[in-house]
């Protein structure tokens, strides 16, 4: 498989990245080099192998994923509004403020 300029532009779009022209051509080179190595995975026959996404259940440990009681306040209280907005690049004191979403 060979990644083209066009695919890099498409993936950048999916990733919410713009990338300069220089970055794009370097990305084509780097992704092809890395994927060239990764393609060796195809040497392995995995037709009868179940994929695993995480390893937590492999050690017989007692995890309680998504099984706790619903608690009104959550495990910890929510941050006060002022504190939640403190790191915002732009806010009006009540909401996060962002550039216009809908074009008219």
């Amino acid at each position: 498989m060979k990644v083209t300029e066009k695919e890099v532009a498409h993936v950048a779009d999916l990733s919410n990245l713009e990338l300069t022209e220089d970055e794009r051509s370097r990305m084509v080179r780097d992704l092809n080099s890395i994927l060239g190595h990764i393609d060796r995975l195809n040497e392995l026959d995995t037709s009868n192998v179940e994929p695993i996404g995480q390893v937590s259940d492999r050690s017989n440990a007692d995890f309680d994923f998504a099984s706790r009681e619903d608690i009104l306040e959550g495990l910890r209280k929510s941050l006060p509004q002022a504190e939640a907005l403190k790191n915002a690049p732009d806010s009006d004191g009540t909401f996060f403020r962002v550039p216009k979403v809908i074009e008219r």
Binding site: S15, D30, L44, P99
Partner: protein, 478 residues
């Protein structure tokens, strides 16, 4: 006070017995940082107020004759990917350059509850992505043993600070070797626990199924004491395991005679530096002399680990890093007219080259048409790699390998060749893929006086045996 030989117990006893105050101890570490860190670059942010407040608290306890907790008055450093309330946390990235977290990472909170004095935040590769610390948006870290060389990555600052006596112990994070490899390069001890042993709450996520928090120290015992402090169930992380935490320090004393130590040929193949190979062979010989039984084993899928790892890690990263959009915190590009333009410019300007590369690779691997060929395939190979360890651990108690195929390389040597940089992680990514614990302990030096690391891998939640073998090796050697 001589900072060089200072361990946790020595520092805590000195404060307990009023030979030095915790405040004076912290001040002497800050003096050392001020004089030496400009050449090394291990710290990104100092948290003096917070450190001195905790130190005073410990001094007050000691003055009243009360017993100090395990890390009472001990100066520590925290990798800058763990959030600290009120103390700038950047993850080594411009996109979080002005971020002041409103809460504490559980591991950090547990360190402080045990009396640790947090000196500051340690330099690292941006979002923990890198093997040389050269991807920090702020400055590179120089290896204290040879300033022209990298300290390893991504927890380069955490490793270098311990090696250069600018903290007694530090916390790092390890997604593919980011604790063990820099420990090896800097000549210190670095431990990656089992997945689920230490809460990830407050760790800025890179790849959630592979990320781990763990300690650096000068000795195995110090690593054991820190693990003891930070391990255990945390309701804020549903992947943290609810199983008892053993007394790791007591476990260190158990004999290693009769333990079965696996040596896998796949970890001693092509690309392994001859000096590293011979140091590891010597280490195996020493373990055998200590009464361990050496068993040859095979981990047949090892050569595919890097490929599977860099698909899974980047796929998870591409999802985790979607949150950095310039809306709620961090950097925002100020020249955008629309929301979409704002997202793109913020991320373009805020992320460095390696982070963009990984977001792109991960998004590509998850995108329509490639998901089965890359992401699903990698998850199947993950199952094969995990099975390799399951089979091996039916025959042996621990597995020993080199931590890294070479000693520390030069700054700039691999920065233009991302694949070469990735391949340097060959011996460490497997433990993240399988979620098993692993430690790197110093095992000699090259002719150029560069440290070499021995990696010891163990069964899930069997840090005790890993630490015990590491400790026996460390003590037997001295």
């Amino acid at each position: 006070m001589d900072l060089k030989s200072l361990t946790i117990d020595a520092a805590r006893s000195a404060v307990q017995e009023r030979k030095i105050t915790a405040v004076a101890l912290a001040e002497s570490f800050y003096a050392k940082i001020e004089s030496d860190d400009p050449q090394i670059g291990a710290y990104l942010t100092l948290s003096k107020d917070r450190a001195l407040a905790k130190a005073s608290e410990m001094d007050a306890l000691a003055a009243k004759g009360e017993k100090l907790p395990a890390l009472g008055g001990v100066p520590v450093g925290i990798k800058d990917v763990m959030v600290t309330r009120g103390v700038r946390t950047t993850a080594g990235s411009k996109i979080l350059g002005n971020y002041i977290p409103p809460y504490d990472c559980t591991a950090v909170a547990r360190m402080e509850a045990a009396g640790a004095v947090v000196l500051g935040k340690m330099n690292c590769d941006e979002f923990a992505m890198g093997s040389s610390n050269e991807n920090s948006a702020w400055k590179p870290v120089h290896n204290p043993r040879d300033l022209s060389r990298v300290p390893g990555g991504s927890s380069g600052g955490s490793a270098a600070a311990v090696a250069a006596d600018m903290a007694i112990v530090t916390l790092g994070s390890d997604t593919g070797g980011s604790i063990r490899q820099p420990a090896s390069f800097c000549g210190v001890v670095g431990l990656k626990p089992t997945y689920g042993r230490v809460s990830r709450y407050g760790l800025i996520a890179f790849a959630s199924s592979l990320d781990h928090i763990g300690p650096f120290g000068k000795t195995v015992k110090d690593a054991a004491i820190v693990l003891q402090t930070i391990a255990g169930r945390d309701p804020m992380d549903s992947t943290s395991a609810d199983i008892p935490v053993p007394d790791y320090v007591a476990e260190l004393e158990k004999p290693v005679r009769g333990l079965k130590i696996g040596v896998a040929k796949e970890y001693l193949g092509e690309g392994l530096d001859p000096e590293v190979r011979s140091a590891v062979a010597d280490a195996v010989e020493k373990l055998s002399k200590l009464g361990c039984e050496i068993v040859e084993i095979s981990l047949p899928h090892t050569e595919y680990a890097i490929s599977a790892y860099y698909i899974i890690a980047t796929a998870e990263a591409s999802s985790n890093l979607a949150r950095f959009d310039g809306v709620r915190y961090g950097y925002r590009a100020d020249d955008a007219k629309t929301l979409s333009e704002m997202y793109r410019r913020t991320r373009d300007q805020g992320f460095g080259a390696e982070v963009k590369r990984r977001i792109m690779l991960g998004t590509y691997a998850l995108s329509a048409g490639y998901y089965d060929a890359y992401y699903l395939k990698a998850q199947k190979v993950r199952a094969l790699l995990t099975r390799d360890f399951d089979e091996a651990f039916k025959k042996v108690d621990v597995i020993v390998t080199p931590t890294s195929p070479t000693a520390a390389f030069k700054l700039g040597e691999k920065i233009d060749d991302p694949l070469a940089m990735y391949l340097a992680d060959i011996y460490t990514v497997t433990a993240n893929i399988a979620g098993i614990p692993g430690i790197s302990v110093p095992c000699g030096e090259t002719k150029e006086k560069l440290p070499i690391g021995l990696q010891i891998l163990g069964k899930h939640f069997d840090e005790s045996t890993v630490l015990r073998v590491a400790n026996a090796y460390e003590q037997g050697r001295s």
